[in-house]
Amino acid sequence: MSAAEPLVSVAGLSRVFDVSPPLVTRLLHRSPRRLLRAVDGVDFTIAPERTLGLVGESGCGKSTLARCVAGLMAPSAGEMRFQGKPMDLARRPDRAIRRSIQMVFQDPYASLNPRWRVETSVGDPLLAFGIARTRAQMREQVAALLTDVGLAPDDAAKYPHEFSGGQRQRIAIARALASRPAFLICDEPTSALGVSVQAALLNLMRRLQGEYGLTYLFISHNLAVVDHMADDVGVMYLGRIVEKQPKRHLFDAPRHPYTKLLVQTVPSLETLGRASAPLAGEVPSPVNPPPGCAFHPRCPHADARCRAERPAPVPLPGGGSVACHAVAEGRI
């Protein structure tokens, strides 16, 4: 979507979980092995200092994708290049890459050790990666990081439970920034917070992106938040990216029927008092995904081909791509 050499590029990334019942149950009931395709052949690239936003409902595989890209989980298949170099996704990434790719989670408790003082949480990567050589240097840098994320240097002596959710998220960001990463993966960093705390954090993250020259993969199920943060937006449905476009195109002229549905039903103050007409239908299970296009059971444009053949992404004129037979055939 952008001419610049991408900082991150991912191709054919998949992650399968074995969710079979215990062996005894399987033998007794003759039930087959059950595989869950959490992420199913995802491709994307992100140019340096840009933000790719990723939206999709609960369970569509956003966090699994994030973990694979962050090197916290081995994918079942796929390739990734970082700063032009191929990464071996089957192995734990080397130090230089671990240092350059960091992640911020939805629940800051997941990334902050409750028994560590803030100084230890934020200072640990500084010492581990040899960025600070002495404890005095470490303290100084922790104080600077805390100031950068809008906390006070004195907060270094406190424990996570002494902070509110929004402040804990700031600490998690300071820790992620400590190793001077190039790429930050943010998995629903504000979803657990109210709008006012969210606004402050989003402003902070945009400011830091400029100051630190960061590239973001920004995950959220809130479309307005993604619109505020991202340059390009990918829409995920049942483990696949069904549409990916520069954000203005995506929000003004969504192409995939699922994206259209999302953009139409987003609740807002403008819809005051009239609940948007919900589209019937269920999100199918990733254990037994529908054949063909995974969206076909809910799609008003589905035909026989949609029920049988999986649509491949086709490029769109304004940049980006969409995986939909109806769009490819010019039916919609």
Binding site: Q167, L193, S196, L202, H221, S268, A275, S285
Partner: protein, 332 residues
């Protein structure tokens, strides 16, 4: 009309020396067939309000003052055995995470049928028919077949609907829904909202809808209560409160909502953060963050006043919107 739920001057404390007020003088009511939204940032006391109504305050929290009436009868002083009978029959609850409300080892049908028979003695066949009817009512297609499925075979939105079906099994007149759509994608969220609105309209069920999503409030609620630091800042008809917010905190909240296509560099944010329970300021709890605060705000606690149809706890609620515009200046 007697209110279905009537909370008067409720005070809930965290014991200690001194005890800390988690809810302070909370007064609100829900009429039959009405959806009252409760918003506020994390820690404002939304869930504690719901828990108090259900008689489920977790230790060490205690109600120390006020009254809670259901259909005219005090329920905050009922013995636990009677309260338990009320819960799940006349008053039902729906929480954020549907998985915790469902038992993974029983099928959806087994759980529904058991709950139905707990509430009204009937034979298996009758209970089975009722279970099918309930699943159909919450919009699950092919309910006969789905009865034999286990919760993990359902998507998040379907599970939440099963939880609502379970809640409906006792024919409740009041539903306490604590963040029922937070984990769901907007398309499924719209279905759940439509379901709750339908229950209120068609069955006259009252709903206390707790959420930090203002979009959900705008679509679903008839009235809304804005909680700040355990106190009701503003309460009134949803269109009044969201389109003409009078309390400076509500004005800040509404301004901080990200909107699709707004194209802002920086989101408006309220400076500072909600004070911790042990650091509440004198006077109005919002005064340290408020652009309109004066000496009186810092000394005296504003008593809620009726302005038109809205009750506001602020000395300067009549100030013109433009005077408060400076609230929207971010402190980045």
């Amino acid at each position: 009309m007697t209110a279905l739920l009537d909370i008067r001057a409720l005070r809930v404390e965290l014991p200690g020396s001194p005890p800390l007020a988690v809810l302070d003088d909370v007064t609100l009511s829900v009429n039959p067939g009405e959806i009252l939204g409760v918003v506020g940032e994390s820690g404002a006391g939304k869930s504690v309000t719901g828990a108090a109504v259900l008689g489920l305050l977790t230790s060490p929290l205690r109600q120390v003052a006020g009254e809670i009436r259901f259909d005219g009868t005090r329920i905050d002083i009922l013995p636990e055995a009677r309260m338990r009978r009320l819960r799940g029959s006349e008053i039902a609850m729906v929480f954020q995470d549907p998985l915790t409300a469902l038992n993974p080892v029983f099928t959806v049908g087994q759980q529904l049928i058991q709950t139905i028979r707990e509430h009204s003695p009937m034979g298996r066949t009758a209970a089975h028919a009722r279970a099918v009817a309930l699943l159909r009512e919450v919009g699950i297609s092919d309910p006969e077949a789905r009865l034999d499925a286990y919760p993990h075979e359902f998507s998040g939105g379907m599970r939440q609907r099963v939880v609502i079906a379970l809640a409906l099994a006792g024919e409740p007149r009041l539903i306490i829904a604590d963040e029922p759509t937070t984990a769901l994608d907007v398309s499924i969220q719209a279905q759940i909202i439509a379901l709750l609105v339908g229950l209120a309209r068609s069955r006259g069920v009252g709903v206390l809808l707790i959420t930090h999503d203002m979009g959900v409030i705008a679509e679903a609620a008839d009235r809304v209560a804005v909680l700040y630091a355990g106190r009701v800042a503003e309460i009134g008809p949803v269109a009044e409160v969201l389109l003409h917010p009078r309390h400076p905190y509500t004005r800040g909240l509404v301004g901080a909502i990200p909107r699709i296509g707004a194209g802002l560099e920086v989101l408006p944010q309220i400076p500072g953060a909600m004070p911790r329970l042990d650091a509440l300021p004198e006077g109005c709890a919002f005064n340290p963050r408020c652009p309109l605060a004066d000496a009186r705000c810092r000394a005296e606690r504003p008593v809620p006043r009726l302005l038109g149809a809205v009750q506001v706890a602020c000395f300067h609620a009549e100030a013109r919107q433009t005077d408060a515009a400076q609230i929207e200046r971010p402190d980045a």
